[in-house]
């Protein structure tokens, strides 16, 4: 029996991270859980890819990172969206919708 593909669609991980963080600052695992919850389990984020992506986005200036105390008084690295990150998110979102609707149109006309 095939397990359903839960990989994040290639090239969309950055956008998903930015979107998730646009709601509130979060640490790594928080982002994973949120993506899984909101996508109702369709996407599962690979931790290695996630942490690499966070590192990259932070370097690009779209995220700020900060070590903070969590609720259960442990240290955790929290990420928050920067102004540049917001702009990037808007750009990627509109780009995605344009392409997704194009794909949808093509799939429709085929039938």
């Amino acid at each position: 029996m095939d397990t359903p593909n839960t990989d994040v669609i290639q090239g969309t991980l950055d956008m998903l991270i930015l979107k998730t963080l646009s709601l509130e600052p979060m640490h790594g695992f928080g982002i994973t859980r949120r993506v899984e919850q909101v996508s109702r389990g369709v996407f599962k984020v690979n931790p290695g890819s996630l942490l690499t992506a966070l590192n990259r986005l932070e370097r690009a200036g779209w995220l700020d990172a900060e070590w903070r105390q969590t609720a259960n008084s442990r240290r955790a690295k929290y990420y928050s969206l920067t102004r540049a990150g917001k702009k990037q998110l808007e750009e990627e979102t509109s780009n995605w919708s344009r392409r997704a609707s194009a794909v949808a149109r093509i799939l429709k006309t085929e039938g």
Partner: protein
């Protein structure tokens, strides 16, 4: 902002890698904790939750590596690791590294030194705005370059439309007088537009104007522009000098301008003072206005290309207009020679410089081939190391990069050593350069030279590393190596042998070039100069000042000078002449014989005129062939007597007894001279040219008094040592007439061949280096091969091969390579030596003796290089061989 973050984060990671790693590790730990807590919350036991979290994450190490692999600092880190590895290797095998770096240093150093000389002279534009538009124009009489006359200049100025501006100039050496220390200055008379043609303005004061350049009046006014160096040296950089008068030859001259500090006068590098020409635009036929003694430089209009300018000049030469009459000796019947200033300046040195540049490229190639070979030899020994690295997961590009890092390190060391080498040999190189080399003052190791050396080192590091890296990788193919080692080893050997062949061939090309130069210079110096140059001191005395305007005073001064020098102990003969062979003097006149109907086709103005004192032929050692020499009776008022040279007599008066013939020197309106004698030919311009026409008259019978005359002083021995005594003798006659250009005739002979000697010395140095490198290459190949084949040699010995058999086996292997290299090299040398034709003298580029000697030399050196390894191979004992490995 993001760029800043990229930089700062990268730098932080580089400076404190452990902290950056800990940060990543902490984040992963925290992630695991969170995931475990989440699993626990969903009902798993703490241990199961932990396990599940780990499972989800995968390998912690892999994740850590994945996260940390992002960022530019990783590239820096691997590079540093490569370099550190390379440094470690160099330190572990210092002798190999030293040999490689020194070999490269020889190539890079020689190339850098030659580049520093060739680049500013041949390739960098002249230091004037838009210097490409500057052209030098010559009167092309009989295809030779002749200085133009003022009349020709005036005609071109009026008729030519291709030039924005034109100017003529001639040298002058005024004496700065009425000062504590009189000084002979180098200067020029120039027409008013001179500095505008060059495009340079005085830094202080004003430029010449048309009003400054009026017909000469005995009482002036006279003006001058001086160089920054003269201003600083003699006038303490006093700005008040402008508008003030200085005294030149006792004549007051107003300084109107001072040139900028960096002003470089390529046409006359030593000139420090300029004055207007002040010629007569009415162009009197018997004046200096029609003498061929002016250098003409023009600035072509921006919209005109040089070729059209040339065509226009020739069109002007072909059509004579009534308003611009031309005397017969400036009739422009052969048109003009007009070329860019830069190409004219470098014309005489270009063949030598290009030949040397070619030679240094050959030398550099040999050095690279040698080092490649050395690295290949190491590569064989490194096979196991590379295998281990590949097995541990190093990628092809990683290994290539690491091997290249090694060669780049070697090349950098070679480059640094090379720059040091170039720097230390610079003075010696400059001392060797031919005197006619223009712009020698700007030859230094500057930034462009350093950039060249750095770029060259980089390029060589890559080139030299490429082959070994490829071989290194092939050797490192995992699993494949053991089975394929034989094939790789033989491919490897083939490459190395080809490189040795290439080395021998390249060395042969260089040595043949050096041999051809050597034989040319030998032939050249074997040419009889037509006089006896041994123990002959020569020096020039120039009279200057108001009182020497009178011809009688000038003649009297030189007569007294001659007498004073004659009294100096050790002097056996002394005489003077208006121009001296091998000094660059070129006082040429048209000569017409009464008995030869004109126009004679070869009646060009190319006869050297020597106004001499009686006794000149004896002092110089020029042999008398017929008639009599000039003597004390040939004075002013006596019948005009002339002596001509042998070649002119044969060519112009075939089958006629020249003695008694009458001739005109210069304008036909002048008086007739009668030939009283014939002397042997002398070499005026260079040892390579010795059949130029010459006419000798006594100074007193010439129509004007030459105020610059050469004294030729013959001594029994050590003529140079007489210099101080002669100076004192001349000062006793008149202390204000400086003595200049002192040199023995032997020195002049040597200097006259300076361009060939320059090329020869460098070719010899490069050739010998190439020979040594080729010998080292052959030796190291055979030596390595004998080591690899020790077992084979042992087996051969065990099977009954004698020592002699094995010796010849190895020798044959080495000599075969040498033979192939020599054969290829001879073909290459045959092709390459054609480029040397202009530098050769008396031999062809295919001179058999040179080729044979060089091939023999290389063979002998190769035998020596092969002998050691061959002898070692012949000593291998069978028992040792069987235990080998």
């Amino acid at each position: 902002m993001s760029l800043w973050r990229q930089l700062s984060r990268g730098v932080r990671a580089l400076i404190n890698r452990p902290a950056a790693d800990r940060d990543i590790a902490d984040e992963i730990d925290q992630y695991l904790d969170d995931a475990a807590a989440a699993f626990e919350a969903s009902g798993l036991s703490p241990e199961d939750a932990r396990r599940a979290a780990r499972q989800q994450l995968g390998s912690v190490t892999a994740t850590r590596e994945q996260v940390r692999a992002y960022g530019w600092e990783n590239v820096v880190e691997t590079t540093i690791a490569d370099i550190r590895h390379a440094v470690r290797r160099v330190r572990r095998y210092p002798s190999q590294a030293v040999v490689a770096a020194f070999t490269l240093a020889l190539g890079i150093g020689a190339s850098t030194a030659i580049f520093s000389a060739v680049n500013p002279v041949l390739f960098q534009p002249l230091p004037y705005p838009d210097s490409g538009r500057l052209m030098l124009v010559w009167d092309a009489q009989g295809g030779a370059r002749l200085d133009v006359t003022f009349g020709t200049y005036r005609e071109l100025l009026a008729r030519s439309h291709s030039f924005e501006s034109m100017s003529v100039m001639r040298p002058v050496q005024p004496t700065l007088t009425r000062v504590a220390e009189p000084e002979r200055l180098d200067g020029q008379y120039v027409s008013a537009d001179f500095f505008r043609v060059l495009g340079v303005r005085p830094a202080l004061g004003r430029d010449f104007e048309a009003a400054d350049d009026q017909r000469f009046q005995p009482n002036g006014p006279f003006v001058a522009i001086i160089s920054d160096t003269l201003w600083r040296r003699r006038f303490n950089a006093d700005p008040e000098l402008l508008g003030r008068q200085i005294s030149l030859n006792d004549v007051p001259v107003t300084v109107i301008g001072i040139m900028p500090a960096g002003f470089e006068h390529v046409l006359s590098p030593t000139a420090e003072i300029w004055s207007p020409l002040m010629y007569d635009t009415a162009l009197p036929l018997n004046g200096r206005e029609w003498g061929h003694h002016l250098r003409l430089v023009g600035r072509v209009r921006p919209d005109i290309d040089p070729e059209s300018a040339r065509q226009e000049l020739d069109a002007i030469a072909r059509t004579t207009l009534a308003e611009y009459p031309r005397p017969q000796w400036a009739a422009l019947q052969d048109g003009f020679i007009a070329n860019s200033l830069q190409s004219e300046l470098t014309r005489s040195v270009k063949p030598a410089l290009l030949a040397v540049a070619g030679a240094v490229i050959l030398l550099l190639t040999i050095a690279c081939v040698n080092v490649t070979n050395l690295l290949l030899a190491q590569g064989a020994a490194r096979r196991s190391e590379l295998l281990v690295r590949t097995a541990l997961g190093a990628s092809r590009s990683r290994i290539t990069r690491q091997l290249l890092a090694e060669t780049l390190l070697l090349a950098s060391l070679g480059g640094i050593l090379g720059i040091v080498l170039a720097h230390t040999t610079m003075d010696a190189l400059l001392a060797l350069t031919p005197p006619e080399l223009p712009r020698a003052s700007v030859i230094t190791i500057d930034n462009s030279v350093l950039a060249f050396a750095a770029g060259l080192s980089l390029l060589i590091g890559l080139l030299v590393g490429l082959l070994p890296a490829r071989h290194g990788f092939n050797a490192g193919v995992p699993g494949g190596a053991p089975q394929h080692s034989m094939r790789i080893a033989s491919g490897h050997q083939f490459t190395r042998r080809s490189l040795v062949v290439a080395q021998v061939a390249l060395a042969l090309v260089l040595l043949v070039a050096a041999g051809l130069m050597l034989r040319s210079v030998q032939r050249l110096f074997a040419m009889p100069p037509g006089f006896n140059p041994n123990e002959l001191l020569t020096l020039q005395v120039q009279t200057a000042g108001q009182r020497f305007r009178d011809a009688g005073t000038t003649h009297r001064f030189f007569a007294q000078a001659l007498e004073a020098v004659r009294q100096v102990p050790g002097v056996t003969a002394v005489a003077f002449t208006s121009q001296l062979p091998l000094t660059g003097d070129a006082d040429q006149w048209g000569v017409h014989f009464e008995s030869v109907p004109r126009p004679a086709a070869d009646e060009a103005c190319d006869c050297y005129r020597y106004a001499v004192s009686p006794g000149y032929f004896e002092a110089m050692g020029v042999p008398l062939r017929a008639g009599r020499a000039l003597d004390a009776h040939d004075v002013d008022g006596a019948p005009l007597a002339a002596v001509i040279n042998e070649s002119m007599a044969k060519r112009r008066l075939p089958g006629v007894d020249p003695v008694g013939q009458r001739l005109h020197i210069g304008p036909n309106s002048g008086p007739w001279f009668t030939v009283v004698g014939v002397v042997g030919d002398v070499t005026q311009t260079s040892l390579a040219v010795n059949r130029s026409d010459a006419v000798y008259i006594t100074a007193e019978q010439w129509r004007f008094a030459d105020n610059a005359r050469w004294l030729v002083v013959r001594a029994h021995r050590d003529a140079a040592a007489l210099t101080p005594a002669i100076r004192r003798a001349l000062a006793s006659v008149d202390k204000d007439q400086p003595v200049i250009r002192v040199a023995t005739m032997d020195e002049r002979v040597k200097i006259s061949a300076a361009d060939r000697r320059f090329a020869l010395l460098l070719f010899e140095a490069f050739g010998i280096t190439a020979l040594i490198l080729a010998a080292i290459g052959t030796y190291s190949l055979l030596s390595g091969s004998v080591t690899e084949r020790t077992r084979e040699m042992g087996v051969r010995a065990a099977l009954g091969a004698s020592r002699f058999d094995i010796l010849t086996l190895v020798l044959r292997q080495g000599m075969t390579l040498t033979g192939i290299g020599i054969a290829i090299g001879i073909v290459g040398a045959g092709l390459a030596s054609r480029a040397l034709v202009t530098l050769l003298f008396g031999i062809t580029p295919l001179d058999a003796i040179t080729y044979f000697s060089v091939a023999l030399l290389l063979t002998v050196v190769s035998i020596v290089a092969c002998a050691m390894p061959a002898w070692r191979a012949s000593r291998v004992r069978p028992s040792v061989a069987l235990r080998f490995e």
